[in-house]
C-alpha cells in the first residue's frame, strides 16, 4: 500500500519514511520508521520501540515524532486494514480466555 502518511518534503528528502507493510513478520501491531538505511519498529499499542532492532525516541527527529503522534490513529487504522486478524484496537488480552 502507499505510505500511510506523507511526511513533509524536507523530511522525505532526509530519507524519513513511515511504512505499514502488507506482508510482515507477525508481531504486535507496529509501524516501520525508515531513515535511509536505518529502520525502527514502533508498537502501535504502546509506542514502544520493538526489539530487535530496538531504538529510542531520542534517535528520531522531533518533527517526525510530532507527525507520528498527530497521525497515530491513521497509522492504527492502516494496520487494522492490512492485518484484520491482528488488530490494534482489540488487543488479545493475556487473560481473555
Amino acid at each position: 500500500m502507499p505510505d500511510p502518511i506523507q511526511l513533509p518534503k524536507k523530511l522525505r528528502a532526509q530519507g524519513w519514511k513511515v511504512k505499514v507493510y502488507s506482508r510482515e513478520r507477525v508481531e504486535p501491531p507496529h509501524l516501520t520508521l525508515i531513515c535511509r538505511e536505518k529502520a525502527w519498529r514502533i508498537g502501535l499499542r504502546d509506542s514502544e520501540f520493538m526489539v530487535p532492532p530496538g531504538g529510542r525516541w531520542r534517535d528520531i527527529d522531533p518533527r517526525v515524532r510530532a507527525i507520528l503522534e498527530e497521525h497515530w490513529q491513521t497509522l492504527c487504522d492502516a494496520w487494522d486494514e492490512q492485518h484484520p486478524t491482528n488488530p490494534v484496537s482489540s488487543e488479545e488480552d493475556e487473560n481473555d480466555v
Partner: protein, 277 residues
C-alpha cells in the same frame, strides 16, 4: 576508502583496498571498501584482484570488458564474484561462470535496488539481511531474492497472501526500495525482515536470540506462530482455547502427545519446530 582508478594508478598500485569494484558506472561517491574502476584500468586491477573481490558491473559492455580482462589472468585463474546489473550477452554467460566463483544477475528479468543504495547495502554490516534485487518466475511461481551478500533466497508466490484491504501482490511489478528493507510487488509491499524470518531458519534463530529471556518459552513461540498463521485460540480442534491460553502464558508445562501433535498439525509445522518461531 573509496577512489577511482586510472590505468596508470592501477598498474602502479600493488594493493587496492576495495573489496568491491564498481565497473562501468559513473558514480563518483561510493562507500568505504569500494573502488570505481575505469575500463582501461580493468586488466591491471583484475590481475591483482584477490579472489574474494566482488565486481559489480553496471552495463553489458563493461561485463564484456571484464570478460576480456579475465583472459589476462594466469591459466585457470578465477576472479571472485560478479554481479551484473544489466544482463550480459547470453553467449558470454558460460565463460563468465568459468571465470568467476559466482555470477549473479546473468539472465533477464532481474530488478535491482537503485545503485546508490545497492552499493551501501552490499558493503554494509547487515548485507545478508537486506535484498538488493530479484526476479520472478511466473511459471514456477517463485521469487528469487538476492541478498546483500549475493546469496539467493527462493520464496514461493504463495508466501505473499492478499493483504487485509484486498491488495494482491503483483509479481510483474517486482521492485526493491529502502536500502533493501522493502520488496514491492506493485502496490503491495513486503518487509525483508518478514520474508527472512519465515524462510531463513538461521535468521529467525538469530532474531529470537535477541529477544528477552521471558519471550523464549514454548508458549511465547506458540503465540507468535499462531498469530503469524492468523489463527485464534479456538482454532485448534480438540484442544480447549483455555488450554492454549495457559500454554502461551507458560502456566502449564510444554504440551506433549496428542495435544502437541494437534497444535503442530494445525500450525503446519513439525512439533519440534514450534520453539524455533
Amino acid at each position: 576508502m573509496s577512489r577511482t582508478l586510472t590505468r596508470t594508478q592501477a598498474a602502479k598500485s600493488s594493493q587496492h583496498s576495495g573489496r568491491y569494484v564498481l565497473v562501468g558506472s559513473t558514480m563518483r561517491k561510493v562507500p568505504a571498501g569500494f573502488v570505481v574502476c575505469k575500463l582501461p584500468a580493468l586488466a591491471a586491477l583484475v590481475r591483482e584482484a584477490p579472489r574474494n573481490r566482488v565486481f559489480i558491473s553496471s552495463r553489458r559492455s563493461s561485463t564484456d570488458e571484464l570478460l576480456k580482462a579475465g583472459l589476462t589472468l594466469p591459466r585457470g585463474g578465477r576472479m571472485g564474484e560478479l554481479l551484473t546489473l544489466e544482463p550480459p550477452r547470453p553467449e558470454s554467460v558460460p565463460s563468465l561462470c568459468g571465470l568467476f566463483e559466482r555470477v549473479v544477475g546473468a539472465t533477464t528479468g532481474y530488478s535491482w535496488l537503485p545503485i546508490e543504495e545497492l552499493v551501501n547495502v552490499v558493503s554494509g554490516k547487515d548485507a545478508p539481511d537486506r535484498f538488493i534485487g530479484g526476479a520472478a518466475d511466473h511459471e514456477g511461481e517463485t521469487l528469487a531474492l538476492v541478498r546483500g551478500n549475493l546469496s539467493t533466497l527462493v520464496v514461493p508466490f504463495s508466501a505473499f497472501g492478499k493483504s487485509g484491504d484486498g491488495t494482491e501482490p503483483d509479481f510483474g511489478g517486482l521492485s526493491f526500495a529502502d536500502y533493501g528493507l522493502t520488496i514491492g510487488l506493485g502496490e503491495y509491499e513486503a518487509s525483508a525482515d518478514g520474508i527472512l524470518y519465515d524462510f531463513d531458519a538461521a535468521y529467525r534463530q538469530r532474531l529470537n536470540k535477541e529477544r528477552r529471556q521471558g519471550e523464549r518459552s514454548f508458549g511465547a513461540s506458540l503465540r507468535r506462530l499462531r498469530l503469524q498463521r492468523g489463527l485464534r485460540r479456538a482454532d485448534f480442534p480438540g484442544v480447549n482455547p483455555k488450554t492454549i491460553a495457559r500454554i502461551e502464558r507458560s502456566e502449564v508445562e510444554r504440551p506433549h502427545g496428542k495435544t502437541l501433535q494437534t497444535i503442530a498439525q494445525r500450525l503446519g509445522v513439525g512439533a519440534d519446530q514450534i520453539e524455533s518461531y
